[in-house]
């Protein structure tokens, strides 16, 4: 949906030690890395890929402020305007009593907001599908997908990956964004290959 059909050269690496210099060399050669899929979080890979710092904490801060204001305005409206109650003779505008609720709403808003933002940024949701470049990316292979443009010579990219130490290289034409529905024939690109 979001991306469109594109051509990718996919290289699979057996080890982090090979992957790191490969990432560095591919970037230096000027190829565009679409993404690197690893079986587990690899420390420092984001740095090597040149990804920018996440701004999810800024989003969290804004959600938190939103929670604080929601709680305070809502409670002050209820207890002073809408339905004033005499609770133990305390003032209607009882700020100390509201602090815990304000705190809880701040935490709730920022936590839930950050989770939703994270899922949105990663395209994670029920029924959302994304193209898998290699099934073993969730098992034991480090999979690097390089995006090709019209001018890219994909044979040269394949040779480059070969030299960088990739154990398995192929070219895939795939949807780069997400879609709703089922996996279809695009999957066949590697399903038909020997060994699966």
């Amino acid at each position: 949906m979001a991306g469109g059909i594109k051509k990718f050269v996919v290289g699979c690496f057996a080890d982090e030690k090979v992957l790191f210099p490969a990432v560095k060399n591919v970037r230096r050669a000027g190829y565009k890395i679409h993404d690197v899929y690893t079986p587990f979080p690899v420390h420092g890979l984001d740095h090597a890929m040149g990804l920018r710092e996440t701004s999810i904490h800024t989003a969290g801060f804004i959600y938190g402020i939103l929670g604080t204001t929601t709680a305070l305005t809502f409670m002050s409206w209820i207890f002073t305007k809408d339905w004033p109650l005499n609770i133990g003779g305390k003032p209607h505008f009882a700020l100390p009593a509201w602090i815990p609720i304000t705190f809880e709403l701040t935490v709730l808003f920022s936590a839930v907001g950050m989770v939703i933002t994270f899922c949105y940024l990663c395209n994670l949701a029920p029924f959302i599908k994304k193209h898998h470049f290699h099934p073993r990316a969730t098992d034991d292979l480090f999979v690097m997908a390089i995006e090709c443009t019209d001018k890219t010579d994909d044979a040269a990219v394949q040779n480059f990956l070969q030299e960088a130490g990739a154990t398995e290289i192929n070219v895939q034409i795939a949807e780069s964004g997400w879609w709703i529905g089922r996996y279809d024939k695009e999957q066949k690109l590697y399903r038909d290959e020997k060994g699966y």
Partner: protein, 416 residues
Amino acid sequence: MEHRFEVPGSYKKWTWGLIAVGVIALLYGFIMYHPFAHAGHGENVNSTRFWAVLLQNSVYWLLTVNAAMFFLCVTTMAMGGWQVSFRRVTEAISSAVPILGVITFVILLAIVFGNRTDIYHWLDTEAVQHDKILKGKSGFLNPTFFLVFSAISIGLWWLLGRKMRTLSLQTDEEAMTYEKGKRWVWNNTVWASLFTVTFGLTVASTIPWLWLMSIDAHWYSTMYSWYTFASTFVSGLSLMAIYVVYLKNQGKLEYVTDEHLHDLGKFMFAFSIFWAYLWFSQYMLIWYSNQPEETRYFVDRIGTAREAGPYKGIFFFNLIVNFVAPLLLMMKKAPKRNWTMMTFMAVLIIFGHWIDFYQMVMPGTLGAHAELMPFEFGIAALFIGVIMWSTGRYLGKHSLLAKNHPFLKESMIHHT
């Protein structure tokens, strides 16, 4: 790189300078404030001031350095590895516990045997007989129990802390095999947990009741000990951060990176918020459950709606320095990795919690007569000097790196 630290001349100059200033302040107080004058409440304000300031400073600085050992023990128990590369700094700070413990105990002895009813009202046996509340508490608040329990607590911090330091220094002797390392980690964890249990039963519960809360003997708060603990823990962490930055600036602590400082900053940030949570809860529990008799503590400080109390400014200054400032200034990642910013925040936090202890001790003893003059700061300088002396001595004597610690590798590759 050499893991030895030669204490530089400037450090020694500052240490002895602060101690000299402190000794002058102490002598000045000794001569001018008549510390052994009659202790009637409000009669000899200066003599009360002398003891109140000594009590505030000794308890604050003792609990602060002791918090460094607590940090070491809890991270050990949590099987933490990241603190290993700077754990000698933590040990060095905690090496001030024995000397500050002795000083504190001498001050407590002087207060109790001097029958300073202006500091601890419950020392007045005559008044306690006619006071239902104090009579009810007299099983706990009496000189014998007070002194024996204080002595046991200080003694246990001393001995268990020394054991932790000895275990750490043992690793310097020779490289450990896998089996030996495993045994050492187990042994170290057991001693760390013994310290932590002791700490929980003293600092986090009974000791603040005895030393500080009993100044306002009629009042009580179940939050008080946690509040005191949070205060001293965050200042202990700040002290560690200052020393880490100082030693980095001296070109030492090769394996301590911005990652470690970042984590120390997270601790300082988190425990400043924890402190504010307790600061508020202490008020909230009394306010919400409608206990007018317990509002005394706050009336003494912030006053009433009709008349502002003498400590209103300090009370809210306290909240700004210890909560609002760390919350806003340390929230982002960059300040926690900035040496200057971390030093500034650490100094601010240590000062803020010193003020916090000031407003814990003074209203119940001096009331409106409390002052914040060179004498108060001079006594603080004395204690800072003593901590610097003890810490510097430990750092100069031992290797700055626990080089055979089984978790050292984990600390070297630490990544937040």
